[in-house]
């Protein structure tokens, strides 16, 4: 069972999806995203994949990009995975909903139990969901509604699923994450702090919290690809992207910091949590 905090970050595989050219053109993005340097973005993405595979030793699956899905790279929005269960989301943006298809297929092939939202009224972006190892927090943001959160609760019944209002135009995970099984990392922005306070009220578990100068720095991934004895990794934005937060990140003990950069992809709204999905095919072992 993954109900204990010890299960947080357990993973054997990582799933990413290539950067389509359409992302750089800004056409399909629709949301008025600034044009970005496609080559740089692809380079960042490639580095990320390399770190996941080589540094962390994960099986890396890379889905091919689809030009019709400019934001397909942000596959973190398309699924919520815990244990052997993957909830395929229903992204708020109708344009993004086709993104889930490829992800679903891949996850299915990996042997995960696939759960569909199945509710036309529900919207859920995967990066509005924070799993702490003990419970879920679902940010009620611009993209995720109550019904979507409710389906998260229905899907992961072992866990408490609490809703956290997100006041800023961002996803919950864009300003907070887990720095360890008992540590919540959050940015220093108002929205981040507000959300953290809300989570503190809602939780039964005493988490430590680490505040970072940059919201984006809190979008980190706590990963435990190896055996239980091996120190876990923290995949985080490096000094090139967010120099101010590096010092604070050093406070996290018992983790191996693995900095990566995605400043270009960030322009499209990407963060570490949205750029990859991690899962374990042996969640109970």
């Amino acid at each position: 069972m993954g109900t204990s905090g010890e299960g947080l970050g357990r993973c054997t595989h990582a799933l990413i999806r290539g950067v389509p050219e359409s992302l750089a053109s800004g056409e399909g993005a629709g949301a008025g995203l600034p044009a970005l340097d496609l080559a740089k973005a692809q380079r960042e993405h490639g580095v990320l994949g390399g770190k996941l595979r080589q540094r962390l030793g994960l099986q890396l699956l890379e889905l091919p990009p689809e030009e019709s899905l400019p934001l397909g790279t942000l596959l973190g929005d398309t699924a919520v995975i815990q244990g052997d269960t993957a909830l395929i989301t229903r992204p708020w943006s109708p344009a993004r909903r086709p993104e889930v298809d490829g992800v679903r297929k891949a996850l299915q092939d990996l042997g995960l139990r696939i759960v569909e939202m199945g509710d036309e009224n529900a919207t859920l972006d995967g990066t509005d969901v924070l799993f702490t190892g003990r419970e879920f927090f679902v940010g009620l943001s611009k993209w995720t509604n109550h019904r979507g959160a409710e389906i998260v609760a229905d899907t992961f019944r072992d866990f408490a699923v609490s809703t956290v209002p997100v006041s800023s135009p961002s996803h919950l995970r864009s300003f907070c994450g887990m720095g360890g099984p008992h540590t919540v990392v959050a940015g220093s922005g108002d929205a981040a702090q507000k959300a953290v306070r809300a989570m503190a009220v809602l939780t039964d578990h005493p988490y430590a919290s680490l505040t970072l100068p940059d919201d984006a720095a809190a979008d980190c991934l706590f990963l435990r690809p190896g055996l239980p004895g091996v120190p876990p990794f923290l995949l985080h934005r490096g000094g090139g992207d967010l120099p101010n937060s590096q010092e604070a990140l050093q406070k996290l003990s018992d983790v191996t910091l693995v900095p990566v950069s995605c400043s270009e992809l960030e322009k499209a709204g990407a963060g570490l949590s949205s750029l990859c999905l991690v899962l374990s095919t042996r969640p109970h072992s």
């Binding site: 069972m1 109900t3 204990s4 244990g83 052997d84 269960t85 139990r113 003990r134 419970e135 679902v138 109550h146 959160a149 409710e150 609760a153 229905d154 899907t155 992961f156 019944r157 072992d158 866990f159 408490a160 699923v161 609490s162 809703t163 306070r197 009220v201 809602l202 939780t203 039964d204 969640p283 109970h284």
Partner: protein, 1029 residues
């Protein structure tokens, strides 16, 4: 009683009770009974012609049948003031349909009781006759119900139940045949409800009632209880039957309606709580241990596992597929042992219910995981099961439906850590216990006052709308209990509790988790053998071949003949249970008849001596008036100081030996009062109550109160309404007291309006009482009704008391000691005394728990009851004090606000003062007080005399406590002998209190012709819980 099946048709026609009774009796008899109903009534009258109080009541009964509201026919017998209660009843009857229910119940009960004498008399002579008599009684009951228009209450049971009853009957027959052979096997019940309904058959006999308890393994335990027995008695019996020592996590519940489950309050009489519900209970986990591995015994974990399996199968405890599979696999390991391919093929996993909806896929997964558990012992498998189950987010969360302020459907989840707010499945808010300052309810609203958030300055009160008043109260109680159990080291008020019965049930009187853990460490016995039986399945013996032994041990309690004990054979069970879920074991003890006789004898012998007669009935559930709170706010400035004082004073009222004994349940009532800011109200009430009662006892009670105050974290808002009731009662009492006993009662009744005013004035000083009455207006009517019902109960108790007194001289001695000690300590320094008390209590509690024998439980109850009496008196004293000391009173009220956090609020100082002030109110009483506690007396009108002798004699029975306090004092060269007699009658609505009181007064006069009755104080506590609304 032998179990017999009544004819189906008859059963249908008759009400549930009838049906239930019928099962026990011969069908033939049933028919006869019906025909004879009218004649029976007459016969009963005749039989009752004996001078006993009951004889008079019989005519009333008939009236009641026609018009329940008017049924109060005590009038002839009872003094006018007592009669006044009638008016209350009438008023109540007019109230909404909800309120009517209680009345009905009361009426029925009364009828039963009156009828009782008949059957009892006959029983000794002839077995058959007895049955017929009972039958008659039952019939009568039924008639009453039918006639009563308001019967429609939730309790009315649809045809379905009847059907179920029939089924049960059938089953019973089957059981008989198989019983002997298959006692060992426990039956698995899928559907608890069915079982309960079936249990309705339970016969209501005069003095004993058959209780059926559905156990966690689906089997049924039945036993006979005295009708006036408290919940603790039954609970202890069940725990003994189960061989369970760590029982504080468990409780008995009864189903008020399919959706409403109530916990049986161990400190209160069962019948009061049930009203007219059948005596059917389920044994459940009440407090889920956050860490089951800390439980001491495997058997405890086993029962927890059974509960969790139920929770999971029913969907109350949601799980993911994987978790269902994993938990299921541990269940298999525990039940079946290691996976065995060959044997396993023979098992039909559909016998197990691993999930609310079980799929083949799940079963396969379960098996797959089961294979991996090879080598785990059943106990280890259970432990693993619990380790996984405890992490589930809804583990131990008790959900209550509600609406938020905007009318949105939400659920309130009460758990170890606090209150969780869910919308759908989502947790949308959470209030940890430390953050909650006050919990209250008013009508159907439930409120929590929350500590200000970081940047906020003011406390906020959040209200939720519950479906109805009962639901609100139920939620409130659950919160109080959970908070106390998980959050406090010891019960809020050291279980001294019941003194101020006003608030009654609302306090958790049991041990806290901390205490029970400590107690568990003292468990020293070899691990008991027990048979693991998965509910829903045929029983299997995993732990060893000792099943037979286990069963026997379980059944020790029940002497019933083998034939009577029925259990499905394992094989039979599997099929039957799986389908109907009705499988149960009937264990019946033949002893009922004798009990009845004994009781009657007691009744006849009833006599009350002494100047003071306390009839205590109040269940007042104190409800806080908003106004009271306002007052409190006004005095905030002083509050902080008060808090400090409280904190410093370490509240522990002095423990009397009594209190120590009580450890468990009784404290609840007291707490309720205290918790509410209502202190003012309480005080006023106390004043009223204060009669000449013995000071020592009272003092003790005061101390207890103090302690309770400290503990009060949660307040009921409804208190006000109830308080209002109390006040009335009290005032009446006071009037009665002052007046000679005979005339007094009548006057007091009349005075009621006046008394209320008086109380108001008194309370007004305290600030809240008057207001409370007004607000409560609508609410308290129901209480009155209840009160009436209670009175009847008291009579029964009286009877019992008499006998007990005779037999229990030894006990008296013990109790005497506490009294003297308490008085001085209390007066001088409440805080000091309290501290001692607390310590003692704590110590005692664990020990007692370890022992757990049923007998002990009984003793505890008794003790608690005694305390209650004392408490009442104390309350009265306190109230007096309040008048004089306004500021202090205020302080008291404040504590409730802080409740949760402010664990330590020592009222001691306040109360002490109060006692002093009491004197003015009741001059006569003052003297009494003087003897034992000179200090206090000084305050009390300077009556202080020299105490020559003080003697306290107490006799306890399960439901009744009689305390006789004799003091000889020399005042100014004149020796004075005061005899104070307190009689506490605890009972359901069956007792005719008015009669009991009247008789008590009469007897007192007769016994002491040379003495004058200076005071009669009647304190009634009526538990309105069920009947409210």
């Amino acid at each position: 009683m032998t179990t017999e099946v009544g004819s189906t048709s008859e059963v249908k026609k008759e009400s549930e009770q009838l049906g239930a009774d019928a099962t026990k009796e011969n069908p033939k008899e049933v028919a006869e009974n019906q025909q004879n109903q009218s004649s029976d009534l007459e016969e009963e009258k005749d039989s009752k012609s004996s001078p006993s109080a009951k004889s008079q009541s019989s005519p009333h009964r008939q009236k009641r049948q026609k018009d329940p509201s008017e049924s109060r026919g005590i009038s002839r017998f009872i003094p006018p003031w007592l009669k006044k209660q009638k008016s209350y009843n009438l008023v109540v009857a007019k109230d909404g349909g909800d309120k009517k229910e209680p009345t009905q119940a009361v009426v029925e009960e009364r009828v039963l009781e009156k009828e009782e004498p008949l059957p009892e008399e006959e029983r000794p002579a002839k077995g058959d006759v007895e049955e017929t008599a009972q039958r008659k009684q039952q019939v009568i009951k039924v008639d009453v119900k039918e006639e009563t228009p308001s019967v429609s209450g939730p309790e009315t049971q649809p045809a379905e139940e009847v059907r179920k009853e029939r089924e049960d009957e059938k089953e019973i027959q089957e059981d008989k045949s198989e019983e002997a052979a298959k006692r060992e096997t426990k039956e698995v019940q899928t559907n608890e409800l069915k079982a309960e309904k079936a249990a309705q058959k339970a016969t209501k006999k005069a003095k004993t009632v058959q209780c059926k308890v559905t156990l966690l393994d689906g089997t049924e335990y039945s036993c006979d209880l005295e009708k006036s027995a408290k919940g603790q008695v039954l609970f202890d019996k069940v725990c003994e039957h189960l061989n369970l020592l760590e029982k504080d996590y468990f409780g008995l519940s009864f189903q008020e309606s399919p959706e409403q489950k109530n916990w049986l309050d161990p400190a209160k009489q069962i019948k009061r709580q049930l009203r007219n519900l059948p005596w059917l209970f389920t044994f459940n986990v009440k407090f889920y241990p956050p860490d089951p591995s800390q439980l001491t015994e495997d058997i405890t974990r086993y029962f927890l596992c059974l509960q969790l399996r139920q929770d999971i199968a029913s969907g109350r405890l949601p799980c993911s597929f994987v978790t269902h599979a994993l938990l299921g696999s541990y269940t298999l390991q525990a039940e079946l042992g290691d996976y065995d391919p060959e044997e396993h093929a023979s098992h039909d996993l559909s016998d197990f219910q691993f999930a609310p909806s079980q799929t083949k896929e799940l079963e396969e997964k379960v098996v797959e995981l089961h294979k991996t558990h090879r080598g785990l012992s059943p106990a280890q498998a259970d432990s693993q099961f619990l380790e996984n189950a405890k992490r589930l987010s809804m583990y131990g969360v008790d959900l209550h439906h509600a609406k938020d302020s905007e009318g949105v459907d939400i659920k309130l989840g009460v758990c170890a850590n606090g209150l969780l707010i869910y919308k759908d499945r989502l947790r949308i808010n959470r209030f940890a216990w430390p953050k909650i300052l006050k919990i209250s309810y008013k009508r159907s609203n439930f409120y929590i006052k929350v500590r200000p958030a970081e940047l906020e300055q003011f406390e906020s009160t959040i209200g939720f709308k519950l479906p109805n008043h009962r639901a609100a109260k139920r939620l409130w109680k659950v919160c109080v209990e959970h908070h106390t159990f998980y959050r406090l080291v010891s019960p809020e008020q050291p279980p001294k509790a019941k003194f101020l019965t006003l608030g009654s049930k609302f306090r958790y009187s049991g041990r806290t988790q901390a205490q029970t853990r400590q107690a568990s460490t003292l468990i020293d016995r070899p691990a008991p053998h027990f048979e693991r039986t998965s509910s829903k399945r045929v029983s299997r013996i995993l732990d060893g071949a000792l099943i037979g032994d286990a069963d026997q041990s379980l059944r020790k309690d029940f002497p019933g003949p083998a034939g009577e004990v029925s259990a499905y054979g394992r094989g039979a069970v599997s099929t039957a249970t799986a389908q109907d879920g009705d499988g149960r074991r009937d264990v019946r003890s033949p002893t009922k008849a004798p009990h009845v006789q004994l009781i009657e004898g007691k009744k006849n012998s009833l006599r009350v001596e002494g100047d003071n007669i306390y009839v205590r009935h109040s269940n007042l559930m104190l409800e806080d008036l908003d106004k009271a709170q306002e007052d409190i706010l006004k005095h905030q400035a002083s509050i902080s100081e008060l808090k400090r004082n409280f904190m410093e004073s370490t509240p522990e009222p002095r423990p009397n030996e009594w209190e120590k004994r009580r450890i468990t349940p009784l404290s609840l009532q007291t707490q309720g009062r205290k918790g509410d800011h209502l202190f003012k109200d309480i005080l006023s009430m106390k004043e009223k109550h204060q009669t000449a009662a013995t000071r020592t006892v009272e003092e003790k009670a005061q101390e207890a109160d103090k302690s309770s105050h400290e503990t009060l974290n949660v307040v009921e808002e409804k208190k006000q309404a109830e308080v209002g009731k109390d006040e009335r009662v009290i005032t009446e009492e006071m009037n009665g007291k002052e007046i000679s006993p005979g005339s007094g009662p009548g006057e007091s009744r009349k005075v009621e309006p006046l008394t209320q005013k008086d109380s108001t004035s008194l309370s007004s000083e305290s600030s809240s009482s008057s207001e409370s009455e007004e607000e409560d207006g609508g609410e308290y009517r129901p209480h009155h009704r209840v009160t009436e019902g209670t009175i009847q109960e008291e009579q029964e108790e009286y009877e019992e008391e008499v006998e007990e007194e005779a037999s229990r001289a030894a006990k008296v001695v013990e109790r005497e000691q506490p009294v003297p000690e308490a008085s001085p300590g209390k007066q001088a320094g409440a805080s000091v005394s309290t501290v001692e008390t607390v310590a003692q209590e704590n110590v005692v509690a664990p020990k007692v728990s370890a022992e757990k024998s049923v007998h002990e439980g009984a003793l505890k109850q008794d003790v608690s009851e005694d305390t209650e009496d004392e408490q009442h008196k104390v309350n009265g004293e306190v109230s007096h004090v309040d008048i004089d000391v306004m500021p202090q009173i205020i302080c008291c009220s404040e504590p409730p606000v802080v409740k949760t956090e402010m664990v330590t609020i020592s009222d001691a100082s306040q109360r002490t003062e109060i006692s002093t002030k009491e004197v003015p109110i009741v001059q006569t009483e003052t003297k009494t007080i003087t003897y034992e506690s000179p200090q206090v007396d000084g305050g009390a009108a300077g009556d202080s005399g020299t105490l020559l002798t003080a003697q306290t004699i107490t006799s306890d029975s399960m439901s009744t406590t009689t305390t006789t306090h004799i003091t000889k004092t020399i005042k100014g060269g004149i020796s004075e002998t005061r005899i104070e007699k307190r009689i506490v009658i605890t009972g359901d609505a069956d007792i005719d209190h008015d009669q009991a009181l009247a008789q008590a007064i009469r007897e007192a006069r007769e016994q002491h012709p040379d003495m004058s009755v200076t005071r009669v104080v009647v304190h009634k506590e009526t538990e309105l819980e069920e009947g409210e609304d």
